[in-house]
Subunit: 252 residues, 6 copies
């Protein structure tokens, strides 16, 4: 791994001058707005996502009397998050496949670190709204939503809706994108790289270094087991750094 890193650092020139295994600057702002139980602005390079967590007593009907809580997520892009304006899904009258897919991914990742029994019959809704999109919006959403989730659980503890926030969380979770560009595995792709990537993978990991979600797509060129392993190494490095940023933000 060390050798690969050296090699990459020497050879590859990324548009923003980063090394192949380097994250974009991460900034996590808590209490970004006042109303939500958790409200976080996460910035990964130019990508900016507002993540809010809403804590509600009670669970959806299908989960009633189970003694278990529920965590769900919704993702959306503001119309001018992108270079070209995207029509609102509310105006089109239906949610597109990409939005559905990402919302479900975020929900699964966050549920992966929550002890539903400890949460009790309470629901947390995570809303990830992309203010500006420059690649990696789904992974930034997961990383930011985790911080909002923690804030919402702390709020719930303070307001005696749950006993102990720390018991609800089995671990932390973050996510990052990796991809192969011109044959070189790289970490944390901005839009310009993402659109050239032959292979593209989103990896969500826990603080203990295990996987919650791996989604690798190779529409443009299949990838080998070797490449997969290099990508997972990069993802592991990136997620460790993102989790450090989460911890720092939560310690403030």
């Amino acid at each position: 791994m060390a050798e690969i890193k050296d090699l990459l650092n020497n050879v590859v020139l990324r548009p923003d001058g980063r090394a192949a295994d380097e994250l974009r600057p991460v900034r996590i702002t808590r209490n970004f707005t006042d109303a939500p139980e958790g409200s976080v602005l996460i910035e990964c390079g130019s990508t900016r996502v507002m993540c809010t967590a809403t804590f509600t007593t009670g669970v959806p009907r299908w989960r009633k009397d189970s003694g278990l809580g529920w965590v769900t997520a919704e993702y959306a892009m503001l119309p001018r998050a992108t270079a070209e304006r995207t029509d609102r899904e509310s105006v089109r009258g239906k949610i597109g496949g990409r939005t559905h897919e990402i919302s479900r991914l975020i929900g699964r990742c966050l549920r992966g670190v929550v002890d539903m029994k400890a949460l009790g019959e309470n629901q947390i809704q995570l809303d990830c709204d992309v203010l500006q999109a420059d690649g990696g919006t789904r992974t930034a959403s997961i990383t930011g939503a985790y911080v909002a989730l923690v804030d919402a659980l702390r709020w719930a503890e303070r307001n005696r809706k749950i006993k102990r926030a720390d018991k609800v969380l089995k671990d932390c979770v973050s996510a990052v994108s990796v991809g192969v560009i011109n044959g070189t595995p790289m970490l944390d792709l901005p839009y310009i790289e993402d659109s050239q990537a032959m292979t593209d993978m989103n990896v969500a990991m826990t603080g203990s270094g295990q996987f919650i979600e791996i989604q690798g797509t190779a529409e443009h060129r299949p990838f080998s087991r070797d490449e997969l392993n290099q990508l997972l190494d990069l993802a592991e490095k990136g997620n460790k750094e993102l989790q450090a940023a989460q911890r720092a933000a939560l310690a403030e």
Copy 2:
């Protein structure tokens, strides 16, 4: 008018300590995001709206070959802009009446100061997304959208899409809410006052002091011609100050 003002300043106690004829602090941040031709964050007290302006060459089909441009607007609230989470209209599969009503209002106000001939066959789409709602979101949207519109026109001038931005604008426009609370006319209502108002009026005015939109609603208690006049006086004062804030922001 002067007497009324004195009286109000002495007697009424507003939750945030303002005088009856006093605006909440206004902050207008240009270039809030990078992608749009105009991108403004407007803050009126705790109300925060992100207003973007998208400039596109060409007009909708029904306006083709007219030699005239078009300006349109869409308004939306993020789910946790409010104390209680609001379901997304994209998820519900349809746009609610309130959203429709406000989007149309914003569009009319901005069209009211645009010379469609000078704009030529180009379209400007204004998107007003409420990040945080504390009353007056529709009037803040109008005031902020005007600044985003100016930026988009300047961009279009720089990029030779139009000849002169200043020729497209016939005047500036801002809007403010006024209302009667416990019998007292007041300027710029936050949510807590808005929900108690017997009468509620949104007034959009041009820099030359004329009206573009007046929408007065008295679902809870009809209002007299006298009260109307007092409300219009307050709105005039508020709009002058908002227009000063617009000018200051645009001069930066």
Copy 3:
């Protein structure tokens, strides 16, 4: 005011020969159909709107156990109410912004004269369906819906659903359009004038001469405080006459 009227009567020539401050002929037919608790056909010139009032015991869920009633309205146009056929909103699968806006306006106006406590936990739904449109359909809807509402309340009194219909009504309400055409303020605009109006205002007033709704739009040319005052004078005159027609119809 008298001088203005004289002046207008002498100078302006309206397509239908009316004076500037003259209403179109109004005809209000009660019991237009048999099934509804209130059923009214209102004709203002060529504009014809069928207004029905449905009285139902009980209120929507969000208002249960409040002791208060509810009044709501829906407006729609038949496809060939207009010169060009309009597609049905049921076929398009969604309600347009204009329909939403007008439905909400009618609802607010009627609620403005109803004492919800006296109504008790009962609901009145007003349906205003435009059979023929020649300008002023929303104001005709309000004026006609009031008469249907009264009939529904009388029905409810006769059927012992409420104690006294007259206690439920705080006042009567009617509405009329006014506008500035070629610089001249005019009352009750048919379509041909409406489409030329620089400024356009809909004014709903109670029998005691107070305002319930003022909606002034100046998409094409802003209007001054002076013009506003002249328009309000005209609206006041028009609403008085419409309320006389309502009283006459209800006395039959």
Copy 4:
């Protein structure tokens, strides 16, 4: 047949005192509204349907360059056409099965008497809106829509959109309901009878006595070939009388 008729007239007592083979009073009002090319109010007893015909140059895309015209129909009920208010399909966001079924039936019946070649590449849209429903709304719609169709074709002839209206019409068409109630076949069922009918049939016939549509439903009790024949006899009698009413109206 004569014997059956005598028998029925003597024995059966219908709620409105009619004989078993007697139509409800029919009234056809042409030019009910001004805008449409054909506008008819048809009243069959208490059932009232407004039928408009819209003539448009050109045909839908799938029929372009065929040299053939097109005729289509849409049926709808106003919310309080019925004793209980029905929610608007525009508000529900979709058209129900019954509405779809009836719209398609009306379209087929009218197309059945139109020579598409003689119509040329022009389209006629028939809108049947039920103002009051007391059984037989679909058959009244067909009978009324035919008159509106004739008026639209005459308009098109006068305005030189088509050469000769009479060449476009291959025949006239009307429709009527018949049903078996307590074992007795009856003509033209009002709602109270319709809801008791074991068997229910709608029969559309041309002036020459041939069938365009037969729709017999026996959800509650199957019917024999004999009963079918009696019902068809009644339908034949009813349609002849309806066609006389159509001719009388068109002769005015």
Copy 5:
């Protein structure tokens, strides 16, 4: 009738060599899939429909506490059941008129042979999905759904949801299409004939030879009483044979 048959057999040449009064080969496969209470594949020539019957305890809300059961049906086509691919109605976001019409027809036909009292407060949902369409899909659906319905009732008897399956069924039901092609009445039309038919009729009959549904359409050329009678004779013959196939399948 015998003469007509002879004549037809001698003269008419059908694309598949059948006599005018001859059914296409029918094949009914029970237990086509494992999960449903009744699961049938019916093949009529190249037309193939999968019919499943779902038995559920309880009835829709509007029928609760009536002591009566309910039977309903949904029909759909797979996208490539036809020569040209049809867009999915789920993707279009709404159900088309044809689908609605057929679903309702199937439901009425099956309800026509069910004793709702004997069924008790239980619901049977019939799903008819067309795998391959070659004319007569709606009649094949009815014929196949009946077999699936019987299987679901037998399942319910075995599982003690109802007392006796045979008491729930008042009779059997099947359906077949008939039509006039180039002046000749014919039985069981495949797509190629159906598209040429001047007149087209679907006839659902019980085992006792009575009618449950007759739907005759003559968009292209009206039909006489004589033709109607010939078509009904053919339908009677066809339905008898289809009911024999049903009995044979159910006896296996």
Copy 6:
């Protein structure tokens, strides 16, 4: 790997008696229906999916004049593919997130082996309709859709829509599910295992042993790098066998 396999074969007892690394029986039936250019029924154990491929000349508008073809996919479940009936998405009026997610996955996998340049401006639409669901419906869809795609390309070659089918295909593709159940990695999970899996992964691979899609989800328990590697080994084995079944079917 060999040791693991031995271990698994000895210790684990799967409900259907399979070894941990054993596929369910696979059956691929080509020409399942007549109309589509490619029509395949794939059966993996009790899971049965009908996969059709529709070849159309021309591409969607956004891809016109690119010289490139397009491949897209739609997945759906029949209502009674499952033990409990699922409501139709067409009836609900919208497509659910799961359906969207799977449709997109299938599309990406198939595009991953198609040379869009060699396909030219032609489109292939893959429809995967689940007749019976017992786990692994999305992976069976991919495996079956590949065979349907090949048949459609061969059809296109025979009909001279493309030059050579074999040049369009860069490789073959199949997919299989793997998962960890009670700590044991297993291949090809039926529903009963899938619902107990702590970790669940779908792996699409090419004939050359490279990855096109990896989707691993660990909502219930995160998985380690070691477990990932074992799962990928199993997936590789399974995909090789599935590709042999594809080849065998295509050779018939």
